[in-house]
């Protein structure tokens, strides 16, 4: 024949078809078949061998037993061992297998590569009555390459990553690869012979069928479709299908469907679409104005907020540039920055500028401008994010105005005021502070140099830093009061003042600084000094006057001739003398409200003793270490004078010497002055008979809220209880 393998195959195909078209052939094959170098054999519908030719016997090393089940084993390539033979396949599924690479398994187990055509035979009624198999041995060296190529193709076909199915004009599967089984979730047996359109999702079936019919009819050569395949487990997967026809001379032979599972891809695409949708919505409804601009500043895209803030509609905005809505005074700077940005590699800039709305209103906005670039760094478009800061600016202005007013207020205060931060650095000071300190401080520096280092205690000793009121206030976070100090000025003078440091806290109650008011008390100190001088002067004058009075009485006493007058003047003079002695004790050491009881007793007793004749001792046996209010001084002096005089007159028993004992004790809420002698003693009831001044003592004792008591101890003991009412109240 001289045909190449291809020619054989084609020829073989034609032969097989021809033969199959002649049902008689099953009974009696034409003699020529015996001569063909092609292995040919026929089986009946139940698979029993009807006849075979010599080539078949050679190929299979067996003559075959007609009437027996055909044991010419022919397997299709790539389908592995143990499956049904091609012949059995076609018997089962009466579809022709054409030009398939296969494997003939010989009696001795070896396998020979073949190319086979297996054709079903039908009677007039269309019933299957047998199968004719033609095989060409391709194991010869010339066919080696072809065989190998076929082998490779078969494997490739079988394990391609796409599902491949060959279907006939009705859609019945003649052949499927392994991936097709995997994608559809069915086994090869389930798939073969089944109709491919049965597994298409009902909603997609019609379209697929429609296209297929057109393909079969020859209207189209191929088509693609995305459709759902219903797997065996009922799940539907998305598949992308390419369907093409194999024709012979224009006549439809079969179709090849290539399909793959695109479910994941479809899902990913869906997710992406959703994500993009969300992104777009976010962009659109963001609370901040976002716009995209080209290199000229022309608005390419704007969101809702951008329209709201500018008062323009979207269409209007897209016809404008960003500079069209900028206030003229701010335009140049913005233009410059923007141009720079389109050139420079991605420098973001922020600007605060005035925007002119559509209605003409001017608002302040804060704009951040950035760029999107391509991989080469070239400007693609700009992004502008814009915020209305008018209310913020207004609030800032109001705050600044309020702070200004506050400072003006502080400036106007006559007291020195300054504030520091939590670390003690000066943040504010007023003019009065400069005047007090003699020099202005440095803002931002600690108040140490200015004030703290130059502080002294009222007695002149330096005030240690830790004890400085402002330092304490900041350290212990509390106000400090009641401290007096001196501030040394640069010229060396020292100003007395009282500081009032108070911590300042924020809303969270955290210490943020302190305010200190320094009240200059120089004038007050001066007044106090003047007052003291005045007091001293007055006290001195009163003392002098009383001495003068005392002297006048003594002079009068010396001048008179009358003994009675002399006695009377002597008594009067002594009383004045006692008061003068008491006066000496008042206002000592500048104490304007009280006097020392012991000094008082000594002074009055000393004065009285001087007029005593003879050797009479006045002993102060005890004096409570107390101070008494000034208004008790004169009454007590007169009381003491009377009691001492009486004791001297009547208590020494006519002798010239004796001792009188005086003591002052403090009781729970009162005092007691006691004068005691060694005389005969007396009863208070007898007093009226004698002009002893005891009425005066009683009256004065009552004036002091107390009373006079007299005891016999055995001498006279006079006890005067009194209250220091001034100190009680």
């Amino acid at each position: 024949m001289g045909m190449g393998a291809t020619g054989y195959r084609d020829g073989m195909g034609a032969l097989a078809k021809f033969l199959a078209g002649l049902p008689r052939v099953l009974q009696a094959p034409p003699e020529v078949i015996e001569l063909l170098p092609l292995a040919v054999f026929a089986c009946d519908a139940s698979g029993r061998l009807l006849w075979s030719n010599r080539s078949a016997a050679e190929l299979w090393q067996s003559a075959g037993s007609p009437g027996q089940l055909c044991d010419f084993k022919l397997y299709l390539a790539g389908e592995g061992k143990g499956l049904e033979t091609a012949t059995a396949r076609v018997l089962r599924i009466p579809t022709a297998i054409l030009g398939a690479a296969g494997m003939a398994e010989r009696r001795d187990g070896t396998r020979l590569p073949v190319v086979a055509h297996v054709h079903p035979v039908e009677n007039e009624g269309g019933e299957l009555i047998g199968v004719i198999t033609c095989c060409l041995d391709t194991s010869t060296v010339a066919a080696q390459a072809l065989r190998e190529q076929n082998q490779r193709l078969a494997v490739t076909y079988e394990h391609a990553t796409v599902g491949i199915a060959e279907i006939d004009a009705e859609g019945r599967r003649m052949r499927v690869n392994a991936t097709a089984c995997a994608v559809t979730g069915r086994s090869r047996e389930e798939l073969l012979g089944g109709n491919v359109f049965d597994t298409v999702h009902p909603e997609d079936r019609e379209e697929d069928l429609r296209q297929y019919r057109r393909l079969v009819a020859g209207d189209i050569d191929r088509y693609s479709i995305e459709k759902r395949i219903v797997r065996k487990d009922g799940a539907a997967i998305w598949a992308s299908v390419m369907c093409s026809a194999v024709r012979d001379d224009g006549e439809f032979l079969y179709a090849v469907r290539i399909f793959q599972d695109i479910t994941d891809a479809k899902r990913a695409a869906q997710a992406l679409a959703e994500s993009e949708q969300r992104l777009a919505a976010t962009y659109e409804h963001a609370g901040i104005a976002i716009s995209e601009v080209d290199e000229r500043g022309q608005l390419l895209r704007v969101n809702e907020a951008a329209c709201a803030i500018t008062g323009y509609s979207r269409e209007e905005l897209l016809g404008l540039t960003i500079f069209d809505v900028t206030h003229p005074d701010d335009r140049d700077a913005d233009v410059e920055s923007f141009e720079q940005q389109t050139i420079d590699a991605g420098k973001r800039y922020a600007v605060e500028k005035r925007l002119i709305r559509k209605d003409g209103r001017i608002i302040w906005v804060s704009v951040t401008s950035s760029t999107v670039r391509d991989r080469a760094g070239r400007f693609l478009y700009g992004i502008r994010v814009m915020r209305d800061i008018t209310s913020r600016l207004r609030a800032q202005e109001a705050l600044a105005a309020s702070e200004r007013r506050f400072r003006e207020l502080l400036e106007g205060l006559p007291a020195a005021v300054y504030t520091t931060d939590a670390a003690g650095r000066i943040t504010f000071y007023n003019q009065a502070a400069v005047e007090l300190a003699g020099v202005p401080p440095e803002i931002g520096r600690s108040d140490e140099q200015w004030i703290t280092r130059r502080l002294y205690q009222p007695d002149g000793a330096p005030l240690p830093r830790e004890e400085c009121p402002m330092v304490i206030a900041l350290r212990e976070n509390r106000p400090v009061r009641g401290v007096e100090a001196l501030l040394e000025r640069p010229d060396g003078t020292r100003a007395p003042f009282i500081p009032y440091p108070t911590p300042l806290r924020d809303e969270g109650d955290e210490l943020i600084g302190a305010v200190n008011m320094l009240v200059d008390i120089s004038e007050r100190k001066q007044a106090e000094a003047n007052q003291k001088v005045l007091l001293d002067e007055l006290s001195h004058r009163v003392k002098n006057n009383m001495q003068m009075l005392h002297s006048l009485l003594r002079a009068a006493q010396r001048e008179t001739q009358s003994a009675e007058a002399r006695a009377v003047l002597a008594d009067a003079g002594q009383r004045v003398g006692a008061m003068a002695a008491a006066q000496q004790v008042l206002y000592e050491a500048g104490n304007a409200v009280s006097y020392n009881a012991k000094d008082f007793l000594e002074g009055v007793c000393g004065g009285t003793k001087q007029v005593f004749t003879g050797n009479i001792d006045i002993v102060i046996s005890h004096c409570a270490p107390e101070r008494l209010s000034n208004d008790t001084a004169m009454p007590l002096a007169l009381i003491l004078n009377e009691l001492l005089t009486n004791a001297a007159k009547y208590g020494v028993n006519g002798r010239d010497e004796g001792s009188i004992r005086v003591h002052l004790t403090k009781e729970l809420d009162s005092f007691e002055l006691v004068v005691e002698d060694d005389g005969p003693g007396f009863e208070l009831g007898d007093v009226n008979k004698r002009s002893s001044g005891l009425g005066l003592v009683s009256g004065l004792a009552r004036q002091l809220g107390g009373a006079l008591k007299v005891e016999r101890a055995p001498g006279a003991r006079c006890r005067v209880q009194f209250f220091d009412r001034a100190s009680v109240h």
């Binding site: 009067a572 009226n688 002009s691 005891l694 009425g695 009256g699 009552r702 004036q703 009412r725």
Partner: protein
Amino acid sequence: MASPLLACPTSPVPRGTAVFAPQDDLSGQISKAAARILIVEDDFIAASEIEAVLSDEGYQIAGIANRAQDAVRLAKAELPDLAIMDIRLLGRMDGVDVALQIFRESGVRCIFATAHYDPAVRARAQPAAPLGWLAKPYAPHALIAMVRQALAEL
């Protein structure tokens, strides 16, 4: 009567004793004889002096009080014709408070004695219908004159 500086004063003149002293007319003599004066003064020596001066002039001393409670009690018990009231008294009540009370309770009016001129004090004292204001320190004749004038008013 002797002054306190020279000797101790004796007890006040008993009630009902007629004391003769220089006067201008009979009515004055009768009013002077009937006039009983309450002294409210916490300084003993000052009180003694007022007592002496008034007694010398022939007036009767209804009593001497050195505290607010005693003043109120004596005013009620003795119903004097008038009182010599020291403004400055030690204690919660001052002379004005006492004057207001004794005027309210007993109808007794006062001659006020004070070291300081204070319009606020004077205003406070108005409801007590003061008879006069005496500035301390005062001379005896000033006291006498004021008492005479006051008694003529009553």
